[in-house]
Symmetry: C2
Subunit: 196 residues, 2 copies
């Protein structure tokens, strides 16, 4: 009953992360009812994403030059490894870290590093050898405090041990504004052990 | 820190219904990481929505001709009024109704009909006068069983009374697969009163 263009739109949009067929259908009708100008606005916004490049050092995105790696005022010998771009953005918003980054890419559920992730770590190791005489001051592993995150951290820690004086992880504890009463046991254990 | 194309994408996409800034940001990174082909596929799917037209009789959408109004095998003298396209699609999926439709457009929260909705009802009334000698056999009001839906039904019932031998509403009751124990009081009242 729906014409091919609508079916095609629903099909393509419902494959995007966290959008299902129902939401895609609603979006199709919303756009059709909003008229040509709004469709064109979205069309152009999507098309413009093709201008975006990925930095070959840290794998963040940019148009002209990488906002992280091209910023010479940032510390060069401390590096944070994160899973994804949005983690980097959240960490940057704290304004506390002024070093380099490496985006590793989505963690596999089986806790094994993907070939692409191994490549990223290898090229990092080579850069450390070439540019820093073999060792950075510190590498911070900033993965989610989950089983997969912990497992990945351990894997990477083994691999990068020779390339940093210190390898650290983000602290765990009761989140600010959270309540001790409702915190789970593991969180409270971490909060106790990390007390200062 | 994000380049203008990405900010613009997030801005436009997060204005779409039930997509917030967080999901829009994740979509931007997903698309950038998926590469040019997938961005172009989405771009084209969006652009193709411009081909879609809205039927001037029932206000459903089509490319060549309206799948409802152009289908001469459908009953002509029974008409269902629905709020939106997705309601029509769900009702069509039942395969039980083979008449005409009128899509009224989103119901206002204050229970007042929008100028555009009044126009749609007026042009329906005129069509009934011209094509059916003044009266349809039945008009079914198929709005959501909510306060707004009920209120809108009552408004329209008053307005269209002269133009149909019978004006009906969809039945209410315990949904198939639902449990009486957990049904709310209003639903159970309706189920009792509509028993047969």
């Amino acid at each position: 009953m729906l014409s091919d263009s609508v079916k095609n739109f629903i099909n393509i949009v419902s494959k995007l992360p966290s959008i299902g067929p129902r939401q895609a259908t609603r979006l199709a009708f919303y756009l059709i009812n909003s008229g040509k100008n709004q469709i064109e606005e979205l069309e152009k916004a999507v098309a413009d994403l093709k201008k975006i490049k990925t930095c070959e050092r840290c794998f963040f995105i940019y148009t002209d030059r990488c906002p992280i790696c091209s910023d010479k005022s940032r510390l060069q010998d401390i590096l944070m490894i994160v899973e994804k771009e949005t983690d980097l953005i959240s960490l940057e918003k704290t304004g506390r870290f002024h070093g380099q980054y490496l985006i590793l890419g989505g963690l596999a559920k089986n806790g094994v590093l993907e070939p692409q992730q191994k490549l990223r770590l290898k090229s990092l190791a080579e850069r450390i050898k070439k540019e820093f005489g073999g060792q950075l001051k510190e590498i911070i592993l900033a993965f989610n405090p989950t089983t997969f995150g912990d497992f990945t951290s351990s894997l990477i820690e083994q691999e990068l041990k020779p390339f940093a004086q210190k390898i650290s992880r983000l602290a765990r504890g009761v989140p600010t504004g959270g309540e001790i009463e409702f915190a789970d046991e593991e969180t409270l254990k971490s909060a106790f052990e990390g007390r200062k």
